[in-house]
Structure formats: structure tokens, C-alpha cells
């Protein structure tokens, strides 16, 4: 974008860039090193472990029961994202191509949901979850995630749909296609970029969520990773190297996804954030 010509400027900017990257990465690297140390080494003044102990990961996994949390997190994230995308697509389709009296009004009302911070609603949600039998249930938590994910999803989907040629939908109607078929066969294949964007946003939000899961789950059998791992900080003996290993394990899925989809991820997050 800016055409930097002078070699001196070029190399100092490069140096700056690499320097910042290193500074940002150092704490994570240090945690990574810590997670590979033995219990005795933890308090020693060295960056790298003397004795590499990858077994910490296995131990953390077993000791903290991370397997269960992991499965719970995957379940809740997958269920909530799938439901939100599905339900959001339906609504956005109607808001774009099947308008009914008052539909704009309903759309605006749904958008108000974007403004409400989930943290502020944990008390009434807890009360309601208890009444409805959603308390301490993974599907109950998923449903709450759906509620908080829908407004942004519908906004992004509708914005995208409005940019699609409406002729295609009208043509399909004339060709005799039912509305659900138009949505799945005509609209969804064209809306892939929007679906990817929304999926990324929702996965991030729901995988990383802490406060809703903390409040709405009681039994350690239902804990998601963030809640599960956070439970160890107050314990009598806190095995630092294991917490470090556990924290990294909890970050791995997002990290892997990021590696695979780096640019798309960044675009997705930017689009979602700027639109919402």
C-alpha cells in the first residue's frame, strides 16, 4: 500500500515488525516451555526446561479430566453454531424474500439483541434456566448461545442476501421450487462466504465463552473447557506446569483452525465485527 523504497527504512520496519511479533509471542512461548517442565523445575530461573516432559500434557488431560470438558465444549459449540446458522438462514431468507406485514419491525427488534451483553443477563437466565429445566444441561447452554448468536448472524446473512440477485429466487419460484428448496439449493450455495464468516464468529464466541457456562453449569460433568480449567486455580496445590499444559490444550482447537483458515479467519472476524 505504501511504497517503501529506501533499504534503510525497509530493514528498520522489518526489524520493528519481527520485534513486535517476538514480544507478543514470548509470554505464550514461556507458557509453552513451562508446560514442558517437571514440577521441581517450575520455580527455576530458566526459560527452557532442563528435562523436557511432554508427559505433562497426558497428565493434565487425565488429572483434570480434560477429556470430558473437551467433549462438552465440542458438543456445545457444534450444536449451538449449527442451530444458529440454520435458524438464522431461515429468518434471513424470510426477511429478504418472504417479507410479511411487520417483518421489518421484527427484524429491528431482533437486532436489538446485539446490544445486550450476555454477562448482564446471567442472573435472569439462571432463574429461567432453572424453571425451564435448562440449568446444568449442555443443550440448555447451547440454546442460550443460539439466542446471543442469532442477531449478528441474521444481520450478516440478510446483508449478504440483499446483495444477491433477486431474479434467481424469483426464477426458482417460477420454476416451481418450494421455498425451502430455494433456500438450500439456490441461496445457500451462493451464500457460502457469509456462512463461513458467521460460523467463524460463532465458533470463537461460543468456544471461548466463560461467564454463561460458569453460571449455567453446575456439575463438573457438564463443564466446558474454560470453566473446567478455571476450577483449578483456587486449589490447595496448583500444579503450574499442568495448568499451563491445560491452557494450551484448551487453545489448540482455535489455533488449529486459525492455521488452516488464517486469511479467511481474519476477513471473517473483520467483516462480522464491522457489520455487527
Amino acid at each position: 500500500m505504501f511504497d517503501i523504497r529506501s533499504p534503510w527504512a525497509k530493514s528498520s520496519l522489518s526489524l520493528l515488525a519481527v520485534g513486535i511479533a517476538v514480544v507478543v509471542l514470548l509470554p505464550i512461548a514461556w507458557i509453552g516451555a513451562l508446560s514442558l517442565k517437571t514440577g521441581r523445575e517450575v520455580y527455576k530461573q530458566s526459560f527452557l526446561p532442563d528435562q523436557w516432559t511432554p508427559g505433562n500434557y497426558v497428565e493434565a488431560w487425565r488429572e483434570f479430566g480434560l477429556g470430558g470438558y473437551f467433549v462438552n465444549s465440542v458438543f456445545v459449540t457444534a450444536l449451538s453454531v449449527a442451530l444458529t446458522v440454520l435458524v438464522g438462514l431461515l429468518a434471513a431468507h424470510a426477511f429478504t424474500w418472504l417479507k410479511f406485514p411487520g417483518s421489518e419491525w421484527v427484524f429491528t427488534a431482533l437486532l436489538l439483541g446485539i446490544m445486550i451483553p450476555p454477562a448482564a443477563l446471567v442472573l435472569p437466565l439462571l432463574i429461567e434456566a432453572r424453571q425451564l429445566g435448562l440449568y446444568d444441561e449442555l443443550y440448555g447452554l447451547s440454546l442460550v448461545y443460539v439466542a446471543f448468536g442469532l442477531p449478528i448472524s441474521i444481520l450478516v446473512f440478510r446483508g449478504f442476501f440483499q446483495g444477491l440477485p433477486g431474479d434467481l429466487v424469483e426464477s426458482a419460484r417460477l420454476d416451481g421450487a418450494r421455498e425451502w428448496k430455494i433456500l438450500w439449493r439456490v441461496v445457500v450455495p451462493m451464500a457460502r462466504p457469509a456462512i463461513v464468516t458467521v460460523t467463524i464468529l460463532l465458533m470463537l464466541a461460543n468456544w471461548n465463552d466463560f461467564i454463561l457456562a460458569l453460571v449455567l453449569l453446575r456439575d463438573s460433568d457438564t463443564y466446558t473447557l474454560p470453566v473446567g480449567i478455571s476450577q483449578f486455580i483456587g486449589q490447595y496445590r496448583t500444579p503450574h506446569e499442568l495448568i499451563a499444559a491445560a491452557s494450551l490444550i484448551g487453545s489448540v482447537p482455535v489455533f488449529l483452525l486459525y492455521l488452516i483458515l488464517e486469511r479467511r479467519f481474519q476477513q471473517g472476524v473483520a467483516q462480522g465485527a464491522l457489520k455487527g
Binding site: 431474479d167 424469483e170 419460484r173 417460477l174 439449493r185
Partner: protein, 379 residues
């Protein structure tokens, strides 16, 4: 195939805007009708109402005698070709054309056979596996037409299907569409803003303006007997010259223009009911019917005259623009107005800008329109 009947059809939007009003039009089984008019005249709205994509707010539309006002588009059994083709970008040509058939319960093998058959008619066989993005404009156009043909609908509706093509391709596709209609014989309604397209394609042409049907007739009728000033100005290129004129009876009937007068036979005057001395009319003469002459000649005496301003040579003809007249606005936004007549002459004639010419015409080529409402008063 079907007959289509518009009965007093109108469209008023929620905000009170009237897009179409009181359209009565019958389309016979197998007929090719063109709806033509300037942009915004309501022709596309009319077509979309027939397809079921817009609600009909007044009157009714019948397909084969059945009122379809409240029938879902998919149950009307009409096929439409959209201006930008509306091809599904993620599907192959085959899948695009098979789409309408797959909505029913047709066996797969029959679908494939039918698509191949239509692809053969449209010379698309070798492109069936490609996607729309990899096709030329003309090929996309054919796929869109193929998708309409494939399920053998009661009627084809074509909404400005040629306007995205370049000039040469447009002429070719025009011919192909005419040929297809001749082969298949399906009732077809074709919407365009291009009067040349309308005149070459339509068995009957319906001219619309401001949401109203102005005239329906064969291209020949519309050209030679325009029902009003709008149709007269809209049909034909260059447009008919429409001049303000006064009918006077001074030693025989003459039409007086700004700079002279042209004799009118008593037959013509008698044909105009209630014509009186001093009555104002709009006189219309097509460019090819204007006679330009040397003003010094004796037979040119008294004739209106003007100065040649501009000559456009389009071999083997030329358009001569003559200044010094008061033209009347026909109501067509694209028609010329101002003070210059257009005459269409063989290109060899020796006229040059700056020449003064006398202007006249043969009585039989004169169209007279009422100065009040623009309707034709002569045949």
C-alpha cells in the same frame, strides 16, 4: 400453450404510486406479443404480475380462462427469461436447465433426456458440463431460454432478454427467438424498450406509456396508423416529425406552419370530423415522407422553409436536419424535441449545411393529431 387475458389490470403501490392502470389485452394461444414502451412505463411490472412476482391490485389476469390473481407463481406454469438471465452460478448448464424439471417427480432419466433434447435445439450440447461464468453472453442467454423451454410451460415471458448483449449478438438472438417461436408455437410475451426489436419480433405489439396501454396492433398498423402522438413518436426511427399546425381555408385548405403552409386535399379534411377553419392540429410526417426541394422552384411557393443544419450519412441514406420548425413533444422521453425536422433522403443528394430548403409532403403520408389530447384524427 395458453391464452392470456388481462382485464382492467392495474398496479398501485403502497405509497400510492400507480405503475400500471386499466390494461385490457388478450393474447391468443400461440401468439407472440411484444410489450414495448420507454423505461418506467410499466411493461415489466405487467409481465411480473402475469408471472405472479408482483401482486395485482386492480383487475384480473386469466390464463386459459382461469383467474390467476391469487395463484402462486409456481402454480401458474409460465416460464420467464430475466434480463440478466438469472442463471444459478453454482450449477452447471445441465443442472440449470434441469432445475425446473427436478421440482416435479420426473424420473432422472427423463430429465436428462429432456435437457439433452433442448440443449440440442439450442446448440448447447457441448457446454452442458460448464458453469455460467465460463459461458459467453450469447450462450448464457441460450441457457436461460433453455431453462424456460425445458418444462414446456403454458407461456414464455421474456423480460428485456436481449438488452445485455452487444448489438450484433442482439440481432442474431432476435432471429433465434423468432425461429424458436415458429418451431415451438408457445404463447410468448416479450418485453422490450427497443421499438426496433418490437417491430421485428412481434406478431402484435402493445405500446405502453405511463402505465397505460396506448395501442395494440401489428407492426404495420402501428407504423402506418398510429393511434396517438405518443405511438407515432415512439415507433419508427428516426421519430416521426410532429409539428404544430393550423388548418386554414384560403383558396383551398392549407396547413399553416411557422414559416409557410402545405396544401391539404379536401378528402383529408372531410375525413376529419368537425374540421373547421382556424383549427389547431399536430401534423405528423415520417422522415422518409418529407420532400425537400429548392425554394426557388415555382411549385415550392408558399411552402414552409428551413435551413439545413446537419447531415448524417448512413449509407445508403442520409438524415437531413432542417431548422426553423416548432416541434411538439410526443410524450416519449427519448424523442427529439426542439426546432429541427429530420428528413430521410437517399445519400446521393446534393444538400449541404446552410442551404435553405422548402419542405413538403404527399397528402397520403400526413398524420393529423388532435391538438388537445394527441389522438389521431386521420387514419
Amino acid at each position: 400453450m395458453a391464452e392470456i387475458d388481462f382485464r382492467g389490470v392495474g398496479k398501485t403501490y403502497g405509497d400510492g404510486t400507480v405503475a400500471v392502470r386499466g390494461v385490457d389485452l388478450q393474447v391468443a394461444e400461440g401468439e407472440f406479443v411484444v410489450l414495448v414502451g420507454p423505461s418506467g412505463c410499466g411493461k415489466s411490472t405487467l409481465l411480473r404480475m402475469l408471472a405472479g412476482l408482483e401482486a395485482i391490485t386492480e383487475g384480473e389476469i386469466l390464463i386459459d380462462g382461469v383467474v390467476v390473481n391469487k395463484t402462486h407463481p409456481r402454480d401458474r406454469d409460465v416460464a420467464m427469461v430475466f434480463q440478466n438471465y438469472a442463471l444459478y452460478p453454482h450449477m452447471t448448464v445441465f443442472a440449470n436447465m434441469a432445475f425446473p424439471l427436478r421440482q416435479g417427480k420426473m424420473p432422472k432419466a427423463d430429465v436428462a433426456e429432456r435437457v439433452r433434447e433442448v440443449a440440442g435445439i439450442l446448440q448447447l450440447t457441448e457446454h452442458l458440463k460448464r458453469r455460467p461464468a465460463n459461458l459467453s453472453g450469447g450462450q448464457r442467454q441460450r441457457v436461460a431460454i433453455g431453462r424456460a423451454i425445458v418444462r414446456n410451460p403454458k407461456a414464455f415471458l421474456l423480460d428485456e432478454p436481449l438488452s445485455n448483449l452487444d448489438a450484433k449478438l442482439r440481432v442474431r438472438m432476435r432471429g433465434e427467438i423468432a425461429q424458436l417461436h415458429a418451431d415451438l408455437g408457445v404463447t410468448t410475451i416479450f418485453v422490450t424498450h427497443d421499438q426496433v426489436e418490437a417491430m421485428t419480433l412481434g406478431q402484435r405489439v402493445a405500446v405502453l406509456s405511463d402505465g397505460e396501454l396506448r395501442q395494440v396492433g401489428s407492426p404495420h398498423d402501428l407504423y402506418n396508423h398510429p393511434g396517438d402522438m405518443f405511438v407515432a413518436g415512439f415507433i419508427g426511427s428516426p421519430s416521426m416529425n410532429l409539428m404544430r399546425a393550423e388548418l386554414r381555408n384560403e383558396e383551398g385548405w392549407r396547413l399553416h406552419l411557422a414559416s409557410g403552409s402545405v396544401p391539404v386535399s379536401g378528402d383529408v379534411v372531410r375525413g376529419v370530423s368537425g374540421a373547421v377553419h382556424g383549427q389547431e392540429f399536430v401534423a405528423g410526417v415520417r422522415p422518409e415522407s418529407l420532400v425537400l426541394g429548392d425554394p426557388r422552384l415555382p411549385e415550392a411557393e408558399g411552402l414552409p422553409r428551413g435551413v439545413v443544419r446537419l447531415i448524417e450519412v448512413i449509407e445508403p441514406e442520409m438524415y437531413v436536419y432542417v431548422d426553423g420548425f416548432t416541434l411538439v413533444d410526443s410524450g416519449d422521453p427519448d424523442a427529439p424535441s426542439g426546432e429541427m425536422l429530420v428528413a430521410r433522403q437517399p445519400s446521393g443528394r446534393s444538400v449541404s449545411p446552410g442551404d435553405v430548403v422548402a419542405v413538403g409532403w404527399d397528402d397520403k403520408n400526413l398524420h393529423l393529431f388532435s391538438a388537445e389530447d394527441g389522438t389521431a384524427v386521420t387514419g
